[in-house]
């Protein structure tokens, strides 16, 4: 656990004193939770954010040479990881400097081979399959992890994501204002009553009909089974939701979201949270691409606000939210360097699934490292034969081969692409699985008839 900041100490002192200075409810209650608390927060940069505007930048000389657009026009600076690996960071990330020891940067992360669309790559991020399937988020809340499941798998205090997954029935959108209004009303309403011989006869009848329809095979019975599970958990969720305290309306939206997430985590309403930043990073047209400095500076300010909010929001009397929450910041893919036909000063960018950037922070993460890299780091850099085979026009940067033991990029230029030699999103998810004790039977493989994507043990504390 990190040394608490001065403001944290003040807040904890206020909590210990039982004053109302600490506005968020439940921090004291959370202290009573016996098991080691561990939650997950996914922050999504929707639309395919260009890593070149964050932690995988390129020198301006490459722009001058016509290789990669850069509408900021400022030289990136070296971002040296504690593990000795250096990347170039855009000056736009400077608001994240106070948190540099909290998170590790993963560059050159390979997404889905052969699929270029937003939906397919978002599906791949969540489910490990471009067509969708089981999302990893609910897996973090399974009883088989050894923790008692929270009532919901995740809350999402932001717009819903375009993703086709078939197990998000307990991942629910819940914005702070709706949650507050719901809590206020639920305080006045009776929770769903338990049925049965000693309970309310009407509740017992309603439950009995749901139960009767849940028997047997078929979609309808399966739906009734879900209803039954929901009905049985409804009273507990009702009571927990009724305790939610409205967010401060004058607070920034991100802090309102952190506030709601903290309350949901403390009360075990949810194991995870998904927050989609409002910026949309899909910049195919030059006019859109030119807005990237503004787009990223706004988004990075939000990320800094969230990280600070997590640090300053107590989970209980001893820990802040960042002490109990693993944070992942990701987009569905990176972007190409430019359009081949457009002039370098007036070009948009397309999708690039060959190299993405992910940030990992918080509980269980060893911060301050730079892991992996993408190729074509300078205007003189030569692509590998594998890169030429996969991207003949050389529009994209591509994740370099990767040494999983040292977590360092490998400088050799292979002629053929071997996915086992690359850092993939499967490894990132499996590392999160390892942290949450998800059984290895659920680990993602590198592909059909290929081994499981290696866990990045070096990034775990």
């Amino acid at each position: 656990m990190r040394t608490p900041s001065r403001r944290q100490i003040l807040k904890y002192a206020a909590l210990a004193g039982g004053t109302l200075l600490l506005p968020r409810l439940g921090a004291g209650e959370a202290a009573a939770v016996a098991e080691e608390p561990h939650f997950f927060l996914l922050l999504v940069l929707n639309g395919g954010a260009d890593p070149a505007y964050m932690f995988d930048a390129r020198p301006l000389a490459m722009t001058a040479a016509g290789r990669i657009q850069n509408y900021l026009g400022q030289e990136p600076f070296p971002w040296r990881g504690d593990n000795g690996v250096t990347t170039l960071a855009s000056p736009l990330v400077k608001p994240l400097l106070p948190f540099r020891d909290w998170f590790s940067v993963l560059n050159g992360v390979y997404m889905t081979p052969g699929f270029d669309g937003h939906l397919q790559n978002m599906n791949f991020l969540f489910a490990g399959n471009p067509f969708g399937g089981e999302s990893f988020i609910p897996h973090l809340n399974l009883a088989e992890t050894g923790r008692a499941p929270a009532s919901l798998d995740a809350v999402s205090p932001s717009d819903a994501l375009p993703v086709n997954v078939d197990n998000h029935s307990a991942v629910v959108s819940l914005n702070p204002w709706a949650a507050a209004a719901l809590a206020a009303k639920l305080k006045q309403l009776k929770p769903v009553q338990a049925g049965g011989p000693v309970g309310d006869p009407l509740a017992g009848f309603i439950r009995g009909r749901v139960l009767a329809n849940a028997e047997g095979p078929g979609r309808f019975a399966a739906g009734a089974q879900r209803m039954l599970g929901g009905l049985d958990g409804a009273a507990d969720v009702h009571k927990k939701l009724a305790k939610l305290v409205p967010p401060h309306l004058e607070a920034e939206p991100e802090l309102q979201a952190v506030d709601l997430i903290a309350q949901c985590f403390r009360q075990k309403i949810a194991r995870a949270a998904i927050y989609v930043l409002p910026e949309f990073f899909d910049v195919h047209a030059a006019e859109q691409a030119k807005t990237q400095p503004k787009l990223f500076s706004t988004a990075i300010a939000r990320l800094a606000e969230i990280l600070e909010g997590l640090d300053e929001t107590p989970f209980d009397a001893h820990r802040s939210m960042i002490d109990v929450t693993t944070v992942m910041i990701a987009s569905e893919f990176g972007r190409t360097m430019r359009h081949p036909e457009a002039p370098i000063g007036n070009t948009g960018t397309n999708h690039n699934a060959l190299s993405n950037s992910v940030l990992l922070a918080g509980k269980g993460i060893r911060g301050g490292m730079v892991i992996g890299a993408s190729d074509l780091a300078t205007e003189q850099a030569q692509p590998s034969g594998a890169h030429r085979a996969m991207d003949p026009a050389l529009e994209k940067v591509m994740g370099t081969p990767f040494d999983f033991a040292s977590l360092r990029p490998v400088t050799e230029l292979p002629d053929e692409f071997e996915i086992e030699d690359h850092l993939t999103i499967g490894s990132v998810i499996n590392t999160i699985y390892a942290m949450f004790d998800v059984p290895q039977t659920r680990y993602r493989s590198l592909g059909r008839n290929l081994p499981v994507a290696p866990v990045l043990h070096g990034v775990l504390t």
């Binding site: 937003h118 939906l119 089981e134 009532s151 919901l152 819903a160 375009p162 086709n164 078939d166 197990n167 998000h168 029935s169 307990a170 629910v172 959108s173 819940l174 914005n175 204002w177 709706a178 209004a181 719901l182 206020a184 009303k185 639920l186 309403l189 929770p191 769903v192 006869p201 009407l202 009848f205 309603i206 009995g208 009909r209 749901v210 009767a212 329809n213 849940a214 979609r219 309808f220 399966a222 739906g223 009734a224 089974q225 879900r226 209803m227 599970g229 929901g230 009905l231 049985d232 958990g233 409804a234 507990d236 969720v237 009702h238 939701l241």
Partner: protein
């Protein structure tokens, strides 16, 4: 060998007891569709029933199942039942049902004449006419429609003839409505 056998048996048992994948699960029809169904059976054409008005808070309708689009993709979201949307459905339908019960004294909603006549008969509860097969079936069909099997109707009828035999009409009508609208045949897509 024995360990493998036990593992295989446990895996088989887990597969049998695992909750069904969402893709093979009937989802809620959504608040808009439920409102439309009730309106077509209970309300005059120009004054539809809006269940949105009975939500415990604004902007929660999307959590009960609704269509969302992204590019050319259109998906039905939040339709799979969970504890949270059951809380919201229950709170919403309890308030709607209370309005139905209160309508025994003075209509709280705009009803079309045929349903108003049925409601008037049920509101004579626990009188014999209110408990008659004809009256109860008319009320059931008006609220539920024809999507539920007759066994559901019989279970509902028998429950109210016994458990609510001596209850006042407003409470009974509210409970009857809640029992129908919380039934999977009313809430789920079929």
């Amino acid at each position: 060998m024995k360990r493998w056998l036990v593992t295989a048996l446990l895996a088989g048992f887990a597969a049998l007891t695992a909750p069904p994948a969402d893709a093979q699960t009937a989802q809620f029809k959504g608040l808009a569709a439920a409102s439309r169904d009730l309106s077509s059976r209970l309300a005059p054409r120009d004054k539809p029933i809006e269940l949105y008005d009975f939500l415990p808070a604004e902007d929660l309708d999307a959590l009960l199942g609704s269509w969302a689009g992204f590019g050319s993709e259109h998906n039905f979201r939040n339709g799979v039942p969970n504890a949270l949307n059951m809380v919201i459905w229950h709170a919403t339908l309890e308030r709607f049902s209370a309005a139905m019960g209160e309508s025994c004294a003075r209509p709280r909603l705009a009803f079309h004449p045929r349903f108003l006549a049925t409601l008037k008969q049920v509101c004579a509860w626990p009188g014999a006419a209110a408990q008659s097969e004809t009256t109860l079936q008319e009320f059931w069909l008006a609220v539920m429609g024809y999507s539920a099997p007759e066994s559901e109707y019989r279970a509902w009828r028998d429950f109210f003839r016994t458990a609510y035999a001596a209850k006042p009409p407003a409470e009974t009508v509210a409970a009857m409505t809640l029992a129908i609208t919380m039934n999977p045949h009313f809430l789920l897509q079929q």
